[in-house]
């Protein structure tokens, strides 16, 4: 390859290397930034290394606890998977018995099914066993769902091991159990290691199983580090129909909420302000559904100031870094309506500042909100 050609391949490789590393480096740098620095220019470097952020993650967000939970579950599940998988794989590879094929295909067939199919019944199976929201429950489920591939792989692997060694051991008076633990298991080490790595990645990367199975009482304590991470990141405010939104901040004025309900792309229903007190120190606006029986898509209109409120979420109270506090109370929802979170793409509209009274519109963008004036 010519010199320009080599240069050209380096250019492509460096570009992808940057695309891979930049987000990661940015995230690491972000861990040293103050809230202010995070919320201004993304290219800005932290003024100094704020190790106290890490201390806060450990002390206040209890990241250590969640990390430990993840480690406990994956260690337990991995041990169980490898032990049970090796046992089943060994028996299926080396012994003939009635129902052999049925057992083998029952295990191997498990690889065909998407986990989502089992999600609903699994939730109730685990709940009925009293294991919902517990670490042992999650451990058992991880191990069970790792078995199909493990058994399939290890059966094939044990078949490849020479039978002469086993026969020699048997002739020397070695029993079935001793043969497995003292001869076959050590011989199978390469296979065990590779399937173990695969299982570790599968279990460490689980997302849907913990989300479903760590619900209910005690779930908070058992949050895994991955799941927790998502909850710690800025969340969209959980405003529902009929929720009362209290604007404590004096800068944000009579907020009129008007939301348009869209049913299959056609604006059908309207959500209007039910009640609004312009003179009060706390200004409230209640959104209520106009017709009821809403099923379609909704677009809200929201104040531009609300776009900024969603950095950090403390048990129902949403706090803006500038300390403008917006409290959201869940006052009785109107019947017939589905509670719905304010989500990205929702359009929210409000009458501008106190004096201008001009209607402003904003579209809620993702968890971060951007005004569209």
């Amino acid at each position: 390859v010519s010199r320009p050609g080599r240069l050209c391949s380096h250019v492509f490789l460096v570009v992808w290397a940057l695309l891979t590393t930049l987000p990661l480096v940015w995230a690491v740098l972000g861990s040293f930034k103050s809230d202010d620095e995070i919320l201004t220019d993304p290219w800005r470097l932290p003024a100094r290394l704020r190790w106290e952020n890490w201390a806060r993650a450990w002390n206040e967000a209890h990241i250590g606890r969640y990390f430990l939970n993840s480690a406990i579950v994956v260690t337990g599940a991995l041990t169980l998977t490898m032990l049970l998988g090796a046992m089943a794989g060994y028996v299926l590879a080396r012994y003939r018995f009635r129902g052999h094929r049925v057992v083998y295909f029952a295990f191997a067939g498990g690889m065909m099914f998407p986990v989502f199919l089992a999600l609903v019944p699994l939730f109730f199976v685990v709940r009925n066993l009293g294991l919902l929201g517990t670490l042992p429950g999650l451990t058992l489920v991880y191990a069970a769902y790792s078995l199909p591939f493990t058994v399939f792989f290890l059966t094939a692997f044990f078949r490849t091991l020479p039978s002469s060694v086993a026969e020699a051991a048997m002739v020397d008076g070695c029993g079935h159990f001793a043969l497995f633990f003292r001869v076959m298991l050590p011989m199978a080490r390469p296979g065990l290691v590779s399937v173990g790595i695969f299982n570790f990645l599968f279990q460490w990367n689980q997302y849907v199983l913990p989300i479903v199975l760590l619900q209910g009482a005690g779930a908070e304590l058992c949050g895994l580090v991955d799941r927790k991470l998502n909850q710690l990141s800025p969340q969209p405010p959980a405003a529902h129909f009929g929720d009362e939104i209290e604007v404590v901040d004096e800068a944000v004025v009579p907020a009129i909420f008007e939301a348009e309900a869209e049913r299959d792309h056609n604006i059908a229903d309207r959500l209007v302000v039910q009640h609004h007190e312009p003179g009060a120190s706390k200004r409230t606006a209640v959104c209520e559904h106009h017709h009821g029986g809403f099923t379609g898509r909704i677009e809200w209109r929201v104040i531009p100031a609300v776009e900024r409120l969603c950095h950090g979420n403390e048990g129902g109270r949403l706090r803006h870094p500038d300390r403008n506090v917006f409290a959201i109370h869940g006052r009785g929802r109107p019947s017939n309506t589905t509670p719905r979170q304010l989500r990205c793409g929702d359009v929210v509209c409000y009458a501008g500042k106190r004096k201008t009274r001009r209607m402003r519109r904003a579209r809620v963008r993702s968890s971060q909100y951007q005004p569209l004036t």
Partner: protein, 301 residues
């Protein structure tokens, strides 16, 4: 003989018990629940036959989600494999060619390690990271666009129904390419060097060697890659749930998320199971199609 029986029983029963309780019975129950209107709160429910499936056929939200999975199924493997092949071939054969043969590019090991980074992160971290990357004001993407003067291109990526889904696709490609660069790279190592040298002597360009030599010789590996990526595309739940939560206006919804919301948001467990059954048949038909395609491939050879 009795010792042997005891041994088989002791070794087979614990795994079978665990597997039966947590895997086989839920799968079996799913088909049963799919035929009911069970809402989970009471033990009472009625069999509604195929009502759930009839409802599924007319459910625009389901078809919308299914369409997104379909697009993922088409584009994710193609994009990831093409990019992986391109980068892997740049690494393995992009270097100097002299009398001693074709060389890998300088620093090949470094590139491989760097590309593999995202693979080490768990999917939840990737999701949270990219959600911040796409943030309209504070995200690195818009920040970069503004920094180089392309303010016009900066937009609220995840807030726009036109872009949200493609943003998710980009994240999935980003997260997976590294693995396939390493996988294809390892497979390319096993291709004899002299084949490339012969081709280069005959005047073949690098693009030609990639299409005519590398791809055919890696075909088996590419098929394996396609299977893995198809599994990711049919799922897609974690990344979508974290980054967009299916929004805005369902523009990035996927079937897994639909099922999850129906079950654990709306408590319509019967209907959710029906979605699960549909998902199973989707997986099954993709598998059958794939086996067909590769079978014909083998017969032709």
């Amino acid at each position: 003989v009795r010792g042997k029986r005891l041994f088989i029983a002791v070794f087979l029963l614990p795994p079978l018990l665990l597997y039966g309780v947590f895997v086989v019975s839920p799968y079996a129950q799913a088909f049963q629940i799919a035929g009911t209107d069970w809402r989970g709160l009471s033990p009472e429910f009625e069999f509604v036959g195929a009502d759930n499936f009839r409802r599924l056929l007319g459910d625009g939200y389901f078809w919308n989600a299914l369409r997104h999975n379909g697009v993922l199924l088409l584009l994710l493997p193609v994009a990831t494999i093409l990019l992986g092949l391109f980068l892997a071939s740049m690494i393995s054969v992009g270097g100097r060619a002299d009398r001693a043969g074709v060389h890998g590019v300088r620093g090949a090991g470094v590139y491989r390690v760097v590309y593999f980074f995202p693979q080490v992160l768990s999917v939840a971290i990737i999701g949270v990271l990219w959600k911040e990357m796409y943030a309209p004001h504070t995200g690195l993407i818009n920040g970069t666009l503004r920094a180089v003067g392309l303010d016009g291109l900066a937009r609220p990526w995840l807030g726009d129904p036109r872009f949200a889904f493609w943003c998710v696709l980009v994240v999935l490609v980003w997260a997976n390419v590294g693995f396939y660069v390493v996988l294809f790279g390892a497979a390319m190592q096993s291709i004899p060097r002299d084949i490339y040298e012969a081709a280069l002597l005959d005047g073949a360009s690098r693009a030609t060697t990639l299409v005519r030599i590398t791809v055919p010789l890696l075909w088996d590996t590419i098929q394996v890659a396609w299977v893995y990526l198809a599994i990711i595309a049919i799922d897609g739940f974690a990344v979508v749930q974290i980054i967009t939560d299916g929004g805005p206006s369902y523009s990035s919804d996927v079937v897994g998320l639909r099922l999850y919301r129906t079950a654990f948001g709306d408590a319509q467990f019967g209907y959710a199971s029906a979605i699960g059954v549909a998902m199973f048949f989707l997986t099954l038909s993709v598998a059958v199609l794939f086996l067909r395609a590769t079978h014909r491939d083998r017969v032709e050879r």
